[in-house]
Amino acid sequence: MLDVNGLSHAYGRHKALDQVSIRLRAGEAVAILGANGAGKTTLLNAISGFYHPYEGRIVFDGKDRTHLKPPDVAALGIARTFQNVALFKGMSVLDNLMTGRLLKMKGSFLLEALYWGPARRQELEHRAFVEHIIDFLEIQAIRKTAAGRLPYGLQKRVELGRALAAEPELLLLDEPMAGMNVEEKEDMCRFILDVNGEFGTTIALIEHDMGVVMDISDRVAVLDYGRKIADGAPEQVRKDPAVRDAYLGVSHD
């Protein structure tokens, strides 16, 4: 469904991405591994339209969309989270999720303003869907809390919820487990597995911690200094000597 072809990007003279190609099939959960500075986030930003690569093509559902802007990418059904949690801190958890659903909402201004007729029905429908996500992520207790006041682990969970609210076809997760304790990591793993399994959402997630992702991804790609050095089943990648070299000293196995 997503085909990234020969992507290159540079910050000044530093090559962040060098001819990276990766392919995601519908329903797959793919992990993109790499040490800090390996180009993982750059790749994700390119896919979600925040950066435009100077070389290469990104094809989604058969259409070239290398140069779309972030809102247009979102409209295609690609949702993402951020490495340093980007929630709407002043809004409640519920409002954050409802905002995530904006793209699914349409309708007349006037009716909305009056909260009348179809607009009211629509609001209620979306509210019901969002409540479903809240149940799924087990965040019922904090739905009215301002997102900015939550502990970090919960913020990441809410951010995942906001991405899910858009009912994405492709979900991009930028280090969803970073900075979490073991328990929170396990929860997050479970949610990611469930999203992939129950909703059939295609997932691409970025991690630098090898151990965590092996269990939850169908496939693992490894980036090193902007180049892809491995791509395959978790077991196979784990044994790959090139990957071992790249990870020497930082392996968690």
Partner: protein, 312 residues
């Protein structure tokens, strides 16, 4: 000493009780003045909510809108048409601001955007004068500046219409922000540009909308203030008067702007009439700022503002 205490704590209230009709007039005068402050404060709140920018140029926008309107009317354009044209000019201005000022500064520090709006202030003041001239102009929109008497209380017709207009405008905006999809998108953009983009909110469109709305609010404020005290350069300075209103009401709250405006308006008039004589009068001009300062000590986020805890 006792005399002073008497003057502060007893005499004013005795005066109020002694002449209720006069008290009511002062009160109403305060409410009307307050609503006019609210109108200007509203423009600030709108832009602050949607882009996190403190738009220093709001006062200049009021001046510019009023100048444009008066200029058109002076050249023989019918009032209704002049209003439509002025609205078009303000929307066009919003478009230009988005393209030339805001877009190149996306995701910059708020202070940088703030400084850009200071630049915008000088530009608008200069540009307005260049096009329409610097003379004080009279704005006549057909509402007579007359007074009538209800139950022994004198009410100014112009001030009354200003009050009603503000009330309607505020109600519409409050509903707009709380109830609509676009309102929610506006709040999202204010909170985090990147995140808003990632869930499909087009920043450009939102900014364009919000600056247009602020422009239209500026027209209304410009008309009201212009009709009251003439269209002149000092209109730009009423922006400063709305600062205490914002501090009181909270920068992010539409109802806050209204309540803040009322408190300032009423407080000012009451202070001047009943407590002013103690210090020889003329406290109206600085009273609001003292009130705002006192407020900052107790509730820095204002009456209705959002208290956001930033984790560092």
């Amino acid at each position: 000493m006792t005399e002073l205490l008497y003057g502060i704590a007893v005499a004013p209230f005795k005066d109020m009780a002694g002449s209720p009709a006069f008290f009511a007039e002062v009160l109403i005068g305060g409410v009307f003045a307050g609503l006019m402050y609210s109108l200007v404060a509203l423009g600030f709140v709108l832009i602050f909510k949607a882009s996190g920018v403190f738009n220093f140029a709001q006062g200049a926008m009021v001046l510019f809108a009023a100048l444009t309107l008066v200029g058109l009317i002076e050249r023989g354009v019918p009032v209704a048409l002049a209003l439509v044209l002025t609205t078009a000019v303000m929307v066009a201005l919003a478009w230009v601001i988005e393209r030339v000022v805001l877009r190149p500064l996306v995701n910059q520090e708020h202070i940088i955007l703030f400084m850009a709006t200071i630049g915008l202030t000088f530009f608008l003041e200069g540009f307005g004068e260049m096009v329409w001239g610097a003379n004080v102009k009279k704005l006549d929109i057909g509402i007579p500046d007359r007074s009538f008497i209800v139950a022994g209380i004198q009410i100014n017709q112009l001030e009354l219409s200003a009050a009603v207009t503000s009330a309607v405008l505020v109600a519409v905006l409050a509903v707009f922000f709380q109830r609509t999809r676009i309102g929610r998108a506006l709040r999202a953009v204010a909170d985090d540009h990147e995140a808003a983009l990632s869930i499909g909110i087009p920043l450009k469109t939102i900014w364009m909308i919000v600056w247009s709305v602020a422009g239209i609010v500026a027209i209304v404020a410009g008309i009201m203030w212009g009709a009251k005290s003439g269209v002149q350069f000092s209109l730009s300075l009423i922006a400063l008067k709305s600062l205490p209103v914002l501090i009181l009401g909270g920068f992010t709250s539409v109802p806050g702007a209204i309540v803040g405006g009322l408190i300032i308006g009423v407080g000012e008039k009451m202070g001047e009439v009943y407590w002013g004589p103690l210090v020889g009068g003329a406290i109206e001009n600085w009273f609001a700022y003292v009130l705002a300062l006192a407020f900052l000590l107790v509730r820095p986020q204002g009456l209705f503002g959002e208290k956001i805890i930033e984790r560092v």
